[in-house]
Symmetry: C2
Subunit: 309 residues, 2 copies
């Protein structure tokens, strides 16, 4: 694209985005209000690139890192940018303040995507200059391993901006999905929430341990879901496709759902019980090590998926 | 174990189970009431074993096949068996009839697991001899690639039978989960149903296409879920573990669920719309080919997972 990519907010999420764009050959400029974060940024990203290299997920970490430039002022990052990815703190006021600062600095046609996972874009872009070029581009962490990006326009986002964001995300190797209008939790967390809610309920009612509920997914449902979505899964699970499947099993699923009409909050007692089981399986001081394991598994899975057709 | 494994019902599911047990070194005897199925059984299983060999998932297909013996009468399969896996037609009366036939033939201590995906064991084992040794052992197809098995006792299943079934499944390389008491859909399909229900609703309300909802899982949520369950996923997604995560995000998820208190049936119009999109993406005459692709992906994923630690 003409112009560089601007990254505003250089924590874990902004760092991940930098890798996505620089890996795809884009020039990347990064800004964060905190000098410490700016100072450490390239070292942090460099280590992540080395990890990716060890799984053959990037060819040349040094060349990728060389395309990333950390800047000391916001203007240097926004001016000349064709696209700005904003990943500042997940608070409406903070997002509004930075959107209002970014808006007037935008080049003609430049677009701004926010990494917010839960705040609708309309809550913090209403008063920004060029607000028709703001939208949500919600990643999953880390975006260089999990390609899905939820693209969610606000009521005032121009169609051109939506199309440009979808095209850019595709061009850098991500997999954008269009959420046609704002909805609480967007799509990804609504789907996750639906599964979690049934998981909490089954645990609370004593049907199974948290470990066994987890296994039902990790050595069961999750295998297909790592390469096919829920609709394609059921489409292939009946001779005549999804309509055939729905005719056979729709009534069972409806009956199950009728047992879940009273959504309870995740209560303190329930959370405590699951936490107790989890901490027995994985003590608090082992969480960090297990997160590293998860990230290695994600890298290995990404390398595996890249080889499939 | 002392004694062979009996397989009753030799269709797709029974064939899959034969591979699981014979692959683990067990002697397997197979019965089906239909002569045609019996005659073709070893050829069908042989082809599946050759596929597994091509992904290095078995060493010696011929040796595995040699451990499988097809029998012309039920008694030859049950007598001398330490465990019987029943996979006849998914109809309560058919399951009851075969359970009543199997019960009196059982050796001392032999256990019977049913492959039913949706009928509680209590609905078809109540009048069987030795009913305390009947339970549900529900696989996912094909069980030799997807290791989860839901072990679901009836109200009259003995604890010893439950423990023996769990131990056997573990010993042959499956991953049993204990569903402590009967519940409609067991655990796996309840979790799947919860996700599907939100997927149908999001589609119906126009938030996204079926393709984009699918991508949210297949290149997003499903990656972690192929090696970690939902509880472990959120446990690792907040600095202080699951309790910390629940404190931060519980209210958002509860708010989302409050928008889903009126479970609708999967309506004909809605099913038609999803079917229309799916058939545009994958015509009916390509379904079989895509199922083969799915099975190859599952085999490649199983080979990948076997190499991870």
């Amino acid at each position: 694209m003409a112009g560089h990519i601007g990254i505003v907010g250089a924590g874990l999420v902004g760092g991940g985005w930098s890798i996505v764009f620089a890996r795809a050959g884009e020039q990347v400029r990064v800004y964060d209000a905190a000098p410490t974060i700016r100072d450490e940024f390239k070292a942090v990203v460099g280590r992540q690139l080395d990890d990716l290299k060890s799984y053959d997920l990037v060819d040349d970490p040094a060349a990728i890192l060389a395309r990333i430039q950390v800047c000391g002022c916001l203007e240097d990052v926004i001016k000349g940018a064709c696209f700005v990815q904003e990943s500042v703190l997940e608070q409406t006021e903070v997002k509004a303040e930075i959107s209002n600062a970014i808006g007037p600095l935008l080049d003609d046609g430049a677009i701004v995507g926010s990494s917010t996972s839960g705040i609708p874009g309309s809550a913090f872009t209403e008063h920004a200059a060029n607000r028709e070029r703001f939208l949500v581009t919600h990643p999953v962490n880390p975006p260089y391993l999990v390609p899905v990006v939820e693209v969610v326009p606000t009521p005032w986002t121009a169609q051109d901006s939506v199309h440009a964001a979808l095209a850019l995300m595709t061009s850098v190797g991500q997999s954008p999905v269009l959420v046609r209008r704002e909805v609480e939790g967007f799509i990804l967390n609504r789907l996750q929430g639906a599964l979690l809610r049934e998981a909490w309920d089954l645990f609370e009612e004593g049907y199974a341990s948290a470990e066994d509920i987890d296994k039902t997914v990790s050595v069961g449902l999750g295998l297909r879901w790592s390469f096919m979505g829920p609709f394609e899964t059921i489409d292939l699970n009946a001779p005549g496709g999804v309509a055939d499947y729905a005719e056979r099993l729709g009534p069972l699923y409806h009956s199950i759902q009728k047992s879940r009409t009273d959504p309870k909050p995740w209560s303190a007692g329930l959370i405590g019980d699951v936490d107790k089981e989890r901490r027995a399986a994985l003590p608090t001081d082992k969480l960090a090590e297990r997160r590293n394991w998860r990230d290695r598994r994600l890298m290995a899975l990404a390398a595996h998926k890249a080889k499939q057709s």
